[in-house]
């Protein structure tokens, strides 16, 4: 079997709080191949962003990785030194955030920031670095990149800023881009453009992508594989088409059925009762059981394993399959 580009196994992230330790992510595992695009879907608090951050070990205190491994290019990223990680971050694995201003520094011009990023990882001249920057800005379809290079972030619109962030994330031709809700703050027409751009660039450079989002529509457009997260665990993972057309886990089923547009105009929508449990009051057994119509027996006592279900290469964590 071919080795995966990224392999996450049994990842566990905990938060130290005054009331004790909370498990934010439990037993999360997935793989990503070269050029593959994976969507991590879930609601706020499901642990999808924490998963994304933990891949490059960017979890801020009081959180920490308490178990599992993250294999990337032959190294376990949970065990390597901060120096090695720094070399990987932004260089081999880059990240795009929801708010472009988290990446862009308002007091430097775009050009300075881009050159800085390149020079931190590569031993080339400043002039060459700026040339690469212009090239990347052209790739993200920013008109007249030579002049735009000398402008400050506030001189760009929201959509343009996100393009620049994408250009920065591409500067060093990373193997993986982790995009955390990259279009949530943008309008639909701009969202469509940004997603199209991301897709185009990933395909062209054979870059792997992990797209973290709550929007099943966005995920369907660009990814090949989806992992659905609920309360810190992956409840279902499989190919995008399969999951959207034929979800196995009751939570995924509910999510898809609950989308407006899945039923006729004006009809009542399917609704999953209740809301996702807080990390502090996680139910026993399957975390979804208080909201699940099918829950019975061991659903109340035993956490279901994520195992192969159905014909396709699908994994689901549910006792009632």
């Amino acid at each position: 079997m071919m080795e995966h580009l990224l392999e996450v196994n049994n990842l566990e992230v905990k938060f130290k709080l005054r009331t004790g330790e909370l498990t934010a992510i439990d037993n999360v595992g997935f793989t990503l191949d070269k050029g593959e695009r994976l969507g991590i879907v879930g609601e706020s608090g499901a642990g999808k962003s924490v998963t994304g951050f933990s891949i490059i070990n960017l979890i801020s205190k009081p959180g920490y990785i308490s178990g599992g491994e993250i294999m990337f290019e032959g190294k376990d990223l949970t065990r390597v030194s901060e120096d090695v990680l720094r070399h990987i971050r932004g260089n081999r694995i880059s990240m795009i955030f929801q708010d472009p201003m988290m990446t862009l520094n308002p007091v430097f011009t775009i050009g300075e920031q881009m050159a800085e990023t390149i020079l931190a990882h590569k031993n080339i001249s400043r002039k060459d670095a700026l040339e690469i920057s212009v090239e990347k800005l052209r790739q993200v379809h920013i008109p007249s990149p030579e002049t735009r290079l000398n402008q400050y972030p506030h001189e760009f619109s929201g959509g343009m800023r996100q393009r620049i962030v994408i250009a920065i994330s591409l500067l060093l031709d990373p193997a993986i881009i982790i995009a955390d809700e990259p279009t949530t703050a943008l309008d639909v027409t701009i969202q469509a453009e940004i997603m199209e751009l991301l897709l185009e660039l990933c395909e062209k450079n054979d870059t792997g992508m992990i797209l973290i989002t709550h929007d099943l529509g966005v995920v369907s457009q660009v990814t090949e594989k989806i992992a659905v997260m609920y309360a810190g665990r992956i409840v279902e993972i499989g190919s995008t088409e399969n999951i959207v057309a034929n979800p196995l886990h009751p939570y995924t089923k509910g999510l898809i059925k609950a989308l407006p547009g899945s039923r006729g105009t004006g009809e009542k929508l399917y609704q999953i009762p209740g809301s996702m449990p807080n990390l502090t009051e996680m139910p026993k057994g399957c975390a979804f059981h208080p909201r699940c119509e099918l829950a019975e027996g061991e659903c109340f006592s035993k956490v279901p394993e994520l195992i192969q279900r159905g014909n396709f290469r699908r994994l689901a964590a549910c006792h009632k399959f």
């Binding site: 897709l199 660009v222 989308l259 547009g261 004006g266 996702m276």
Partner: protein, 339 residues
């Protein structure tokens, strides 16, 4: 449509915000002379439409298109710059505070952010009692209590939690409380400003269902402000598409989605990502949304429109009415049958 069916009518509504600052900031040098010049944000420009009894009129558009401002002008949070607002047949935009009170009861609003729309220092019970005590000072305590419990049950909040504070609730529950507060005074017309966009996917369906239930049980009419077109398609009867403070198109929901006329509506609809649909071609607009401080001449959309010609740049398009006056489209291209 019959006159008596009209609930809220707005006519040539304009809202500008003065952002020129103090006197000294307003002074500018022009032609070597100092002139005093004010700067305005043109949030809503000459908007007219009618909301009919029992319908859900959705106002859609991208951020900065003035839809939230429009909502706030309609419920009286902002006073209009010019134009008229009618409730049934009574003009209400020029009423003073005490005259307005009886209309306040009829028109309520639901807000976007369930974390900011409830007073964090008031229990759910206090939040719900307050509007009723204010509008019906004669009502007895037991009646108030009864009503609070009834409305809480209607919106799906456990009445046992009446003494809790907002921070003890989840986002979805807070939004339910917020809806309950609006329902306490028996309104007829509710303006909902992005009521589900801050909520999680699995909670959105719950709140949409609640809004539809409340319409049936309380006989409500909604004006729904949203950017989420799949919600619009599901819930509304008519849709009003706004761009840069101007109405592009108003039409019944099935017409908008099956046969959008205005080029902006077409672009907007083509951009919605649908679950289970791989990437599809969407209409790419040129350029970026202009600032509402300096509006483009002529049609506000011409700088981005793929069909714009000389007339579009010069002349503001008039709303073209069809379908018995139920639908409008404001586009020279449609009028000339170019599009």
């Amino acid at each position: 449509m019959h006159r008596e069916n009209r609930l809220v009518t707005i006519n040539k509504l304009v809202k500008k915000f003065d952002i020129s600052g103090g006197f000294l900031d307003q002074l500018k040098i022009e032609n070597k002379k100092i002139v005093r010049k004010k700067t305005f944000v043109h949030a809503v420009n000459d908007v007219s439409f009618t909301v009919n009894k029992g319908e859900i009129l959705s106002v859609v558009g991208e951020s900065g298109c003035g839809k939230s401002t429009l909502a706030r002008v309609v419920v009286g949070l902002y006073s209009p710059w010019s134009g008229e607002i009618f409730y049934k047949d009574k003009r209400i935009d020029n009423l003073d505070g005490s005259q307005m009170l009886s209309y306040r009861k009829k028109m309520q609003m639901i807000f976007q952010d369930p974390y900011a729309s409830l007073n964090p220092r008031m229990t759910v019970k206090k939040t719900l009692e307050e509007p009723l005590r204010f509008h019906e000072p004669s009502i007895s305590n037991s009646e108030i209590e009864e009503k609070v419990l009834y409305v809480m049950e209607q919106v799906g909040v456990n009445p046992k939690w009446a003494d809790r504070y907002p921070h003890e609730f989840s986002g979805g529950q807070r939004q339910r409380v917020s809806i309950a507060r609006a329902l306490m005074v028996d309104p007829e017309f509710i303006v909902a400003d992005e009521p589900i966009s801050a909520l999680d996917v699995s909670i959105q369906a719950q709140i949409l269902n609640l809004l539809m239930d409340a319409r049936d049980n309380f006989g409500l009419t909604y004006m729904l402000i949203t950017h989420d077109l799949s919600v619009v398609e599901h819930i509304s009867t008519r849709v009003c598409v706004m761009y840069l403070g101007t109405v592009c198109e108003i039409a019944p929901v099935r017409n908008i989605f099956s046969n959008p006329l205005h080029p902006y509506t077409q672009a907007l609809l083509s951009a919605i990502p649908k679950p289970g649909v791989k990437k599809k071609e969407h209409i790419k607009l040129k350029g970026e949304v202009p600032t509402p401080i300096v509006l483009p001449t002529g049609c506000v959309f011409h700088t981005r429109c793929l069909y714009a010609d000389e007339r579009c740049r010069r002349e503001i398009p008039k709303p073209l009415s069809y379908d018995n006056g139920e639908s409008f489209v404001a586009c020279h291209g449609v009028e000339e049958k170019r599009i």
